[in-house]
């Protein structure tokens, strides 16, 4: 697997979430993703970006364009230095939230993308990587 290009953008305030959605939309269009997949990826980006901001206290997003043979895709890596998630299994459960949201963000995002990786160390931060391949 090959990373064709990358970009890093900050997730520091509510306006950055809007920016994340727009930038991710551009990257998905660039690899020629269909409208449904594009919408799913943009929505997933919106969810995780909001988590990064609200629970992680802000962080950064690294966007990668992936090439795997003839396959093309986009990977988003969200990183924050926030308090971390003590119980990831519980956080992934639909309906559970430690805040005021619907508790569907993480679980829902996993269903929207092709690959979902989450790693968190309490007290050090959280890293969420999501990948979506262009349907052939």
């Amino acid at each position: 697997m090959l990373t064709a290009r990358t970009e890093r953008i900050a997730v520091r305030g509510p306006h950055d979430i809007v920016n994340v959605r727009q930038v991710v939309r551009g990257w998905c269009l660039a690899v020629g993703m269909g409208l449904v997949d594009l919408t799913k990826m943009v929505t997933a980006a919106s969810e995780i970006a909001r988590n990064t901001l609200e629970y992680g206290g802000g962080g950064a997003l690294t966007i990668e364009e992936l090439r795997d043979g003839v396959r093309q895709g986009v990977r988003l890596i969200f990183e924050d230095q926030g308090p971390g998630i003590p119980d990831i299994d519980r956080a992934m459960t639909d309906g559970y939230t430690s805040g005021t949201g619907m508790g569907l963000g993480l679980g829902g995002t996993k269903r929207l993308v092709d690959q979902f990786d989450i790693a968190s160390t309490p007290g050090q931060g959280t890293r969420v990587a999501i990948t979506k391949w262009k349907a052939r």
């Binding site: 509510p14 979430i17 959605r21 929505t43 909001r50 949201g101 679980g107």
Partner: protein
Amino acid sequence: MPATPSRRLPRVLDERFDEILAAWTKEQTNGAKPGTASEGDIRARCSELLSAMRKALASSGADDVQGPAWAPVRDVLQRVSFIRAQQGFTPSETATFVLSLKRPLFEALRASAGNDAEALATDVWGATEVLDRLALFTAEVYMKTREELIARQSQDMLELSTPVVKLWEGVLALPMIGTLDSSRTQVVMESLLQRIVETGADVAILDITGVPTVDTLTAQHLIKTVTAARLMGAECIISGIRPQIAQTIVHLGVDLGDIVTKATLADAFKLALSRTGTTLVRSRNGANPTGSLTTTPR
């Protein structure tokens, strides 16, 4: 005994005014963005600022740039920054207006100091301090102008994007456009509830055709709006859910519960009419080809 720097700077500015002005104007025109200001404009502004500086220096010295004697100088700078901020100059380009005076001014000081290196160093330091402070002031005004511009624009967006329209007696529609982040949704919700009270509407249609992304927060806002409207006695219909949004909502696992949804605003309107006891009949004789509406008592 050399003159103290605060005395010599005004004197040099006085004696070599035309020379400094010419050199400065030239420096400005060389680095100017094409099509933003004519040479005459630049010259006029440089001349205005230099004259104001000359007066301020003569009356109060260089120490008190924030003081009342320097007010005319600050006025000129404020105007320059304001215009440049609106013309899309960068902050550096705006501050350069003042900073580009350094070279002509230092050259004039050097010519006047002759061989007295120590006096020259003191003079240059004094002049640098004044110009730096003025440049910082310019940058501050620039930032303030931009911030005001941005604040006004986002205020405009808030107002523009949330019109509640009356489609029929007892039927309201809210065509939502753009991002539904929390502050906007708050405005949307308030204006909708307000109009429900004012019009006594039975049905409100929330049209999300213009909302590009529906994530869990947006969905939560929608559900809350519908619930609040319901508590006020109005039934809500959500319309304009495009196929890709529908699939995304399903994958996210958002349950819209018993909220009535329709694909298009037209469908939602038809349903709303029947809810309010209005039926739509197509005219037979062709005199009114678009159809006519009759209200039947409930």
